[in-house]
């Protein structure tokens, strides 16, 4: 896709996603936080698969690990695996209507959470609450809005 675009838009959206990830939430909403960084990554991997590749996802994941204090490489592994899938099937994802896209996002975030769940399990503090998985649900519900806002604001022409 060749069109004039502000170079700061991609880093800018990631900074916003990081800020949303760090924003303190009340205790009852602890597990409901959508995976903002993953959603932004999926959007860019769909929009510009030649710019946002697996390597970028890996670096973003390392930053996320440092910010969240998790094991170094944990989020990097999960993000790069999911982005790998997205880059493989971005043409199909672009064609889906928003609802169907939302369902694909649900399964992608579920995979992401599953990888995090396994790594946490290895080091012996996997969550014992089913609410852990609710994050993929909130991500799915928010996807149409994230998608529309980002497409409107960034002038990226998908489809």
């Amino acid at each position: 896709m060749n069109y004039p675009r502000n170079n700061w838009i991609i880093p800018g959206t990631f900074v916003v996603a990081f800020i949303l990830t760090l924003l303190p939430m009340p205790a009852w909403a602890l597990w409901l936080r959508p995976s903002w960084v993953l959603m932004v990554l999926i959007f860019w991997a769909m929009a510009e698969p030649e710019t946002i590749n697996v390597g970028i996802a890996w670096i973003i994941g390392i930053f996320l690990d440092v910010l969240e204090g998790t094991l170094l490489g944990e989020h990097a592994l999960a993000l790069s695996l999911v982005v790998y899938l997205v880059v493989r099937m971005y043409t199909r994802l672009r064609m889906f209507p928003l609802i169907q896209q939302g369902f694909s996002i649900f399964f992608l975030v579920l995979l992401y959470q599953f990888i995090l769940f396994c790594t946490q399990g290895f080091i012996g503090n996997s969550p014992n609450s089913w609410l852990y998985w609710s994050s993929s649900l909130t991500s799915m519900l928010l996807w149409p809005w994230v998608y529309s806002i980002m497409r409107g604001r960034t002038d990226v022409k998908i489809v």
């Binding site: 900074v15 936080r33 440092v66 094991l71 170094l72 503090n125 852990y132």
Partner: protein
Amino acid sequence: MIFLVLLSIGLMVLDYRVTALSQLRAALSMPLAPLQYIVSWPIQMVDNIVDTISTHDRLVRENLDLKTEVLRLKAQMQRLLAVELENNQLKSLTLSKNQLQGKVLIAALLAVATDPFINQVLVDKGTRDKLFVGQPVLDAYGVMGQVIQVGPLTSRVLLINDSHSGVPVQVVRNGIRAIATGDAYTRKLRLTNVTLTADIRVGDLLITSGLGDNFPEGYPVGQVQKIDKDPGLQFATITVEPAAHLDRSRGVLLVWPNNPALLDPKS
């Protein structure tokens, strides 16, 4: 792709097993610190505004309350100073190295969320203020945790209720020693490897024992909340309510122990 997967798995294993990666972590935390300040700033701002517009009456009342509190604490201090002096003298007589009191620095917590798996907090002090890894962190009510990573601008504190934290404690009433480990999900502590016959009762106060050379001796850790003695198990399950306000405190105390052995954990 396969390369990246192997790289991340390698990193994770290294990060878990070896402490060498903490250097890399500290270096990476430097460019990311502004983000954490950006998130924390508006929240602290709102608190400041609330403080500013609180009414004159309330401030006067609060001032009075604080003055009486200071008076009361000063009276207690006078007695304490004498006791502490005597205690240190006695300890130097018995050649004990765990003397009370050292340098203290007050730090503010950054209002930043971490992964729900992890009970850690960020403080706004770093290598600039000569913090060190393993430094004990207290609040007004008891032990909060220890510093596990020092960056130039921010540092990460492992709270005592994280599942990777362990604090050597002893019961005030009879001096029984144990180790209090964190239980991340109940947000409480648990005493490990305490036999069924040990004399620990509900309501017992636990203080740091100073063993293990990580936490200074004599600070409150928590109170025994529940004891579950199942004859089928080898050890009793003892739940401890932390004394420190782990999820409410905003200001914390960083302590530099007098004991030189505590300053350098590797020695």
